[in-house]
């Protein structure tokens, strides 16, 4: 077990290093930071002084090491656009994104799994057909279009829910939460649906497919033959066996949710990291972009690692010879 964890962590490190290298290259070389800092009129001496001050005259690897050291301490310099430390900006925005992502994931699971089980068990009933068609539309509708339509219907026409922002938030230590106020909860509804819809359809289709596979296996047939009631077969045997891939996908999809939050946050002006990132791309705010890149890779690598470990814990077959053979 321990060896497995260590080996996975060692496999993750090169990824992070590679991403760090890209971030650093952006940070140090894109858009000539010296020229931007000096403005229009400067002498060569001023330029040289600044280059020395920023350490840009040192060898590449020394600079890179310094960058990694700073990054490890959360030091990414100041945002070009907002003149504030990048780390502060990201720390302020992270709770908004994480709360949105969490709600969307919960929504997708709570609705998606039962729908998947149902459509798997009753393949040809008309609700199943309806769910399937619905899921296909869910996959084909771009997130931003869903968001726009929801705003149009629920915020503008019906006036039930807010169309932007997080509502009122409560500060708990360094964390701001929207879960504790009515306006915060109301503001969460539309973005969470927008963000969760794709995941919901994905989970539903996955659970359905897994159920279909499992129901065809011999041991289910055997269980039925033993005269076990349908309930026990479906939920005791079949559903349990579909859980491993569901866990994996949900875990991996957490990353996708954070990524698609960029789109949702743009549509709803949700003050999270995604909106910060898009605004930074528009403004060529490189320190924020490179910090976001590094942070998000860290999140993904961590999620991946945790999913791997869970997998390892859930499915004993994997404890031997993983990585050999096909999928």
């Amino acid at each position: 077990m321990f060896a497995f964890i260590v080996s996975r962590i060692f496999q993750a490190l090169p990824v992070l290093l590679a991403v760090a290298l890209i971030s650093f290259a952006m940070f140090a070389y894109v858009g000539d930071p010296v020229a931007i800092m000096l403005g229009q009129d400067y002498t060569q001496a001023q330029r040289d002084a600044l280059v020395a001050e920023l350490g840009l005259d040192r060898p590449f690897w020394v600079q890179f090491a310094t960058f990694i050291g700073n990054a490890a301490q959360g030091e990414f310099g100041l945002s070009y656009r907002l003149s504030r430390p990048v780390a502060d900006l990201i720390a302020e925005r992270a709770p908004a994104t994480l709360e949105l992502a969490f709600t969307a994931a919960a929504l997708a699971l709570i609705v998606g799994v039962p729908m998947g089980v149902y459509t798997g068990l009753y393949r040809n009933s008309w609700p199943s057909r309806f769910f399937l068609t619905f899921s296909l539309i869910g996959v084909s509708l771009p997130t931003f279009l869903i968001g726009i339509l929801l705003i149009l219907v629920f915020a503008v026409w019906l006036g039930w829910l807010p169309s932007f922002g997080r509502g009122d938030t409560v500060a708990l230590g360094g964390w701001t939460t929207g879960f504790l106020t009515l306006t915060g909860l109301k503001a969460l509804v539309l973005p969470a649906i927008t963000l969760g819809l794709f995941q919901l359809t994905l989970i539903m289709r996955l659970v359905r497919a897994e159920m279909l596979e499992v129901l065809r296996t011999d041991y289910i047939k055997f269980a039925r033959a033993r005269g076990l009631p349908n309930r026990a077969v479906h939920f005791g045997h079949a559903l349990k066996n579909t859980l491993v891939p569901v866990i994996t996908i949900v875990g991996l999809q957490l990353g996708a949710i954070i990524a698609f939050a960029i789109v949702t946050e743009t549509v709803f002006q949700w003050p999270g990291m995604g909106l910060l990132f898009i605004q930074s791309v528009g403004a060529a705010d490189i320190p924020v972009m490179s910090a976001y890149l590094l942070l998000i890779s860290l999140v993904f690598v961590t999620i991946n690692l945790i999913v791997d470990l869970l997998y390892y814990a859930v499915d004993p077959r994997l404890r031997i010879g993983r990585g050999k053979g096909g999928h």
Binding site: I36, I151, A284
Partner: protein, 527 residues
């Protein structure tokens, strides 16, 4: 928790003094990029800071001058203005307002890291004459100094020294200072919460000296919540659904719907801002053009042709939805020096445009890149798109390079452009500000040609501008008149229109419409 209790206690205390808490929630597309009062001379910054900081002289509702932190002022000598200061004023954090603060603030605005140089360009120094009297010594006689000083906010010297903020934040060097996020003014509202890009909350300063003035006696706002919403559609949806009370910059295409909507009011009025195209008339060869070996824009006939090709009425009607005042000059009638007879456009005439191009040696037109901001002025990108199409009809193949303002301004400020769209507001309400910034040759003199990125240079124009700086009375008026005639004949710019600035709000909110596009919440009422 303690904060919460304190806030509750404060609320109770206030409850006695005032009938009710009146909160106004408002929005615009952009967020201020600093809270430093002398760093960035931008409308988005001022719209928050002018609620917090007072200048010596303030603007009235029709943009006239009224006593602010100074109760009286006078040009005691040609080169010396004297200001008598208001006594008994306190800063939000408790410091007493003194003459020292005035001297400090004016000196601070003169720093090279300040963007407010144009307002203090003639000032040699500010000195304390008596305990509550400050003299401003100018290098040349400056008749319009009070107009400029009305844009310089006064901050506390002791507070700035304590927080190591004695010079303005330099946003270009990207430094964070205490003043990036914190404020300490004497104004009607104090800063309570500042979350960049998310929200900015101001609370009423009950000790403000001005609440007893007739104009603000009716003002009943106790809290201001500002939230930037960059998406037009979302901003309007929020206003319609009642999530916000006031939108400073409603998109023009939504005005009709807003007017028809129940419980929404649209205030319309002109802005002191003119939109025009400026162009590189300096280089021997344009940076972004397919013409080699010569600069077509140096030829008056080409400039006239581009001018004749623009169907400004179509832009007025369709792109601006009637919300613009078509013009042939570069500042509106509210500005001192405006001359009706010089406000005449070259007519829209495609045949004439083609003929002029052919005469200038471009019978088949030429290619050029038009630089255009896409989030600064009302429908800026759409205007540029329309112009590109209009030019195409006379054979000029323009490429549109539309970009957000934080890329656009650095680009044109490097003179890295061939032709660009610019909007120019006149906070001093005097013609000199426009002439000096936009048309004066760049000779290093403070304020000369600092926004003249096409590097237009005309000796007679320079002489006339110098007269505007140094003289007053009829000589000055005549100089402005002649300069306007040269502007019309020499076509250094292609003027388009003055912006109209509609404001949209819920019907229970009232605020006077201001031609400088600044909301003054001290005069606002919420019912």
């Amino acid at each position: 928790m303690r904060k919460l209790l304190m806030a509750a206690a404060l609320g109770l205390a206030l409850g006695g003094a005032m009938a009710e808490a009146r909160t106004v929630r408002w929005s615009a597309s952009g967020d201020p990029n600093t809270m430093d009062p002398h760093s960035q001379n931008l409308g988005t910054v001022t719209m928050v800071l002018q609620q917090i900081y007072d200048p010596l002289i303030q603007r009235t509702q029709d943009l006239g001058l009224a006593p602010g932190l100074a109760t009286r002022w006078e040009q005691v000598e040609p080169n010396r203005w004297r200001f008598w200061l208001r006594q008994g004023v306190k800063f939000h954090e408790g410091q007493d307002f003194t003459a020292e603060d005035v001297v400090f603030s004016i000196t601070r605005a003169q720093a090279p890291t300040s963007n407010y140089g144009i307002f203090v360009d003639t000032i040699d120094r500010a000195v304390q004459a008596e305990p509550f009297v400050v003299d401003i010594v100018t290098r040349v006689p400056d008749p319009i100094l009070p107009n400029k000083i009305a844009s310089v906010f006064i901050m506390s010297r002791a507070w700035s020294e304590q927080h190591n903020a004695t010079r303005p934040q330099n946003t270009r060097a990207r430094e964070e200072m205490h003043t990036t996020r914190a404020t300490n003014g004497t104004g009607a509202f104090r800063l309570q919460t500042r979350e960049p890009d998310v929200r900015t909350i101001l609370a009423r300063n009950n000790d403000w000296w001005g609440w007893q003035e007739p104009a603000s006696r009716e003002g009943n706002i106790t809290e201001i919540i500002y939230r930037p919403i960059s998406s037009d559609a979302t901003r309007i949806a929020a206003l319609l659904s009642g999530e916000i009370d006031f939108v400073l910059d409603p998109p023009l295409q939504d005005l009709n719907r807003l007017r028809a909507a129940q419980g929404i009011r649209v205030l319309e009025g002109p802005e002191v801002r003119t939109i025009f195209l400026a162009m590189d008339v300096h280089r021997e060869e344009l940076l972004y053009s397919d013409v080699r070996g010569r600069n077509p824009l140096r030829d008056l006939r080409v400039r006239q042709a581009l001018y004749h090709a623009i169907d400004i009425q179509a832009i007025h009607r369709t792109t601006m939805r009637g919300q613009s005042v078509v013009t042939g000059t570069f500042f509106p009638p509210q500005v001192n020096g405006y001359v009706r007879e010089e406000d005449v456009r070259l007519p829209y005439d495609q045949a004439r445009a083609r003929a002029l191009l052919a005469e200038a040696g471009f019978p088949n037109g030429f290619g050029i890149t038009l630089d255009c901001p896409n989030n600064r002025y009302i429908n800026d990108e759409q205007i540029c798109q329309a112009i590109v199409a209009m030019w195409a009809r006379v054979g000029v193949r323009a490429q549109l390079n539309a970009m957000p303002l934080n890329l656009f301004f650095p680009k044109i400020q490097r003179d890295d452009t061939s032709i660009y769209l610019l909007g120019w507001g006149v906070p001093t309400l005097d013609a000199l500000y426009s002439f000096q910034s936009l048309l004066r040759s760049r000779d290093g003199g403070q304020g000369n040609g600092i926004w003249n990125y096409g590097r237009y240079s005309n000796t007679r124009m320079d002489q006339l501008i110098d007269i505007m700086v140094n003289q007053s009375g009829e000589a000055r008026t005549n100089a402005i008149r002649e300069a306007l005639r040269i502007y019309r004949e020499d076509v250094p710019h292609i003027p388009l229109h003055h912006q109209m600035i509609p404001w949209a709000m819920r019907a229970n909110f009232q605020i006077p419409h201001m031609a400088n596009n600044q909301p003054y919440f001290r005069w606002a009422r919420m019912n």
